[in-house]
């Protein structure tokens, strides 16, 4: 009888609620203080090249959300059975499979957009954010936490992409998602009647770099702890 009582005393630690404060932090941190692009310096390649249109940025964000979310869960479920020597290969295979799925879905349902994104959908495989989060988080944490971490980092990546895409499309062609926002440039209505011209330069790739540089400037001015030492 005494043994049964002792066994009952070994109480399991209470299960952490699904959306506890710590779990919520996994989503909100990458959106600001631990942003994958501006702070962790990951995932820059695809962020810059396809942001000339807001639509492309949004589709890329959704693709990375899918790949990182599902990939994190898969790697986390396998984390105890992957031998350490071949873990990079396993990670690459998981990512490549998910990206092939994304690529085929895009080709089937949004062919024009898949042409704009062209090789950059394939380059999601080498997107450092995905491999980085697999190594840093999914290999050591439970599936639900890994899923939240994946969603959070993809959201942080997406936030930067959407901001850059927003400014580049608005200032570069006066449209947002294809809808003319500032009037018609050919008929000279709206803002164009006052002599405003589209800044064609914004549609070229170097401006994406400069816009991200400005975003970093704003971010680090607001949070002085992020400024680099001499």
């Amino acid at each position: 009888m005494a043994e049964v009582a002792e066994q009952e005393k070994i109480v399991k630690a209470p299960k952490e609620p699904l959306f506890s404060k710590k779990n919520r932090k996994l989503i909100t941190d990458p959106l600001t203080d631990n942003n994958p692009i501006t702070i962790q310096v990951l995932g820059i390649c695809s962020a810059l090249a396809i942001t000339a249109e807001l639509k492309a940025s949004i589709v890329m964000t959704i693709s990375v959300l899918f790949v990182l979310g599902v990939g994190n869960v898969v790697i986390s479920l396998m984390r105890n059975i992957i031998p350490s020597k071949i873990r990079i290969i396993v990670q690459l295979v998981v990512v490549a499979t998910l990206v092939i799925i994304v690529d085929l879905v895009l080709k089937a349902f949004a062919y024009e957009l898949s042409k704009t994104l062209s090789v950059f959908v394939g380059l999601i495989i080498t997107n450092c954010i995905i491999m980085g989060r697999f190594e840093a988080f999914a290999l050591a944490n439970s599936p639900w936490k890994s899923f939240l971490d994946g969603i959070g980092n993809a959201a942080g990546y997406g936030a930067i992409l959407i901001i850059v895409g927003f400014f580049r499309e608005l200032l570069g062609s006066g449209t947002l998602l294809g809808f003319k926002m500032l009037g018609d440039p050919i008929d000279k209505t709206g803002l164009y009647a006052l002599g405003y011209e589209n800044n064609g330069f914004m549609l070229l790739s170097p401006m994406a770099l400069i816009v991200v540089g400005l975003i970093i400037w704003v971010q680090r001015s607001r949070n002085l702890a992020l400024i680099e030492e001499e």
Binding site: V41, A96, I100, C128, S221
Partner: protein
């Protein structure tokens, strides 16, 4: 001639860093000192020179539509290009592992100085990007693929060398504190990319020669068609009579 054109095009006009932003992560991380930048740049040239031709062979004889015709005529309908991503990344990971073993054996000094960056090249977007662009631009031959690999690598090497040199120099400039380090590097890279855009006019001389040839050929075809039309008219009127 097309080899030289592809060579200069891949280095200056379609520069991997300034035109398509491939390999930016390691570009930003390693460019603090010129010495490490040179080491990484050389490694990237070598890996690209090896993997792009290898992937070209893979694409040509296994992955493309109709590529499997050498196995037998009935296999020519297969189009395995959806497997490109996995096959390319597999060859890249294998080749990088081989390169690592070879470098460790023949030049331990170089191996030690590159450190972690040699295995990291496998996931460098520049390497996979080189193979994917080779596929999407339909490079026609093995020699051109080798040319493309080496010249893309040299373009990347040029870019990382330039930014490392500039970053070493601006350590003594008064950059605003929030821009220090990463921010100013982004803006500098943007300005360098704008500078590299000026190379876009480099190869138009040859293009004009080609356009003239095309125009002459088109005129020739028109004249041939007119001759055919008039002869058929004469024949039909002759038949009617």
């Amino acid at each position: 001639m097309e080899h030289i054109e592809l060579f200069f095009k891949a280095i200056f006009i379609d520069n991997m860093v300034f035109a398509t932003f491939l390999g930016m992560c390691s570009y930003l991380a390693v460019s603090k000192k010129v010495a490490t930048a040179v080491g990484l740049g050389a490694a990237v040239i070598f890996v690209l020179a090896v993997t792009v031709p290898l992937n070209w062979l893979l694409d040509q004889y296994i992955l493309k539509e109709g590529a499997l015709a050498w196995l037998g005529a009935e296999y020519a309908v297969f189009d395995l290009s959806f497997l490109s991503f996995i096959m390319f990344i597999a060859t890249i990971a294998t080749m990088v592992q081989l390169v690592e073993i070879v470098v460790e054996k023949f030049s331990p000094a170089l191996y030690n100085s590159l450190g972690i960056f040699l295995p990291l090249i496998a996931v460098n977007c520049a390497i996979l990007g080189g193979s994917l662009f080779m596929q999407s631009r339909e490079i026609p031959s093995l020699g051109m693929a080798l040319n493309y690999g080496i010249s893309s690598g040299i373009g990347w090497f040029l870019a990382i060398l330039a930014i490392a040199a500039i970053r070493e120099k601006i350590r003594y400039s008064s950059v605003p504190a929030p821009l220090r380090g990463l921010g100013i590097t982004f803006i500098l890279t943007g300005l360098m990319a704008i500078g590299f855009m000026s190379f876009g006019g480099m190869l138009t001389g040859d293009d004009e020669g080609n356009k003239k040839e095309e125009l002459e050929q088109a005129i020739q075809l028109e004249e041939n068609n007119d001759v055919l039309d008039t002869t058929s008219e004469i024949e039909s009127t002759a038949l009617n009579q």
